[in-house]
């Protein structure tokens, strides 16, 4: 009996991500959710700009590549034009929390019935490790070589807390993928975010605290330990909104 295999909602294209990049884990969790809910034939994904820009090669469902940060706006259009489809966007922090913050907040405020997967690794990965809106205070990046100084560069944006001030979102949860336990929790959260859409409950966003070993300058496992020690204390895991409860 097969206990674990590659989900069918992923193609056979090898992932281009760096060794130890947690994008691969999150891709798999999304694909498992699509498989488990049996929605592969009617799912449409919106790929971001960032490391995950080539997600359209990896997911077996229909995919659209959106302009930088505009994935929730494109998802809104697709969902309204084709209400029977299941629409998700897959975005990083540079995409969702920086250039696309307006679209993120506006889409959440309208309570569009879509699913957003937000990958927060506290850095711009694809462009070479610049400071992101989510970089931690004191974090050394290419553009903050002495560490992020909150006096001039401000504080990180906490997306789940920010969106939890709005009335409309149905489900907001922050999870992490730094160990087996947290990956299993993340799997449940992502599946719930998709199920909410199938049941018409409204806007669901799962923020996944993630690692970027290459741009953090760490070994893969060291990066996951850094997630546990530095990221999670600043970005507490948990449910920020669940209209079912």
């Amino acid at each position: 009996m097969i206990v674990f295999e590659k989900p069918k909602a992923l193609t056979d294209v090898p992932l281009h991500y760096c060794p130890g990049c947690t994008h691969g884990i999150i891709h798999r969790l999304v694909a498992q959710a699509i498989d488990n809910l049996g929605i592969e034939g009617r799912t449409i994904g919106i790929a971001p700009v960032g490391c995950a820009v080539m997600a359209y090669d990896y997911f077996a469902c229909d995919m659209i590549e959106a302009a930088h940060g505009r994935a929730p706006a494109v998802a809104t259009g697709v969902k309204r034009a084709m209400p029977e489809s299941i629409v998700f966007s897959y975005q990083g922090d540079g995409d969702l929390a920086s250039i696309g913050l307006c679209e993120t907040v506006s889409t959440a405020a309208r309570g569009e019935n879509i699913t957003v997967i937000f990958v927060n690794n506290a850095i711009y990965g694809m462009t070479g490790g610049q400071m992101a809106p989510t970089s931690l205070p004191g974090q050394v990046t290419q553009t903050s070589p002495y560490g992020r100084d909150v006096a001039t560069q401000g504080y990180p944006i906490k997306i789940c807390e920010l969106l939890a001030t709005l009335e409309a979102p149905a489900y907001l949860e922050r999870v992490a993928v730094n160990n087996v336990k947290n990956v299993n929790r993340a799997k449940k959260a992502i599946e719930k975010a998709f199920r909410n859409q199938v049941e018409g409950k409204g806007f669901s966003l799962v923020e996944v605290v993630s690692a970027c070993p290459t741009n953090w300058g760490m070994e893969p496992q060291q990066a996951l330990d850094w997630v546990q020690d530095k990221m999670i204390p600043y970005y507490p895991l948990g449910v920020y909104r669940d209209k079912e409860v």
């Binding site: 295999e5 691969g24 087996v180």
Partner: protein, 68 residues
């Protein structure tokens, strides 16, 4: 007994599975390289594997298939 199958050419040698295995049964090869030039993962004691799938859960590249 559990059986692990590795898509070796997909392995990037990141070692997350090595840390995830509760019994410490996995290691990165010291002898071989795959086509990508990475040192692929190997199961050292297949008879001790319980098939918990912790390694596959942490693998970013879906390298590992677990059967029981």
């Amino acid at each position: 007994m559990a059986k692990l199958t590795f898509q070796e050419e997909e392995c990037k040698g990141c070692g997350l599975c090595v840390h995830a295995c509760p019994k410490g049964l996995l290691s990165l090869s010291v002898q071989r390289l795959n086509k990508k030039g990475h040192t692929p993962v190997e199961l050292t004691k297949p008879e001790d594997c319980t098939g918990c799938a912790s390694c596959a859960t942490m693998c970013p590249d879906c390298v590992i298939t677990v059967e029981k």
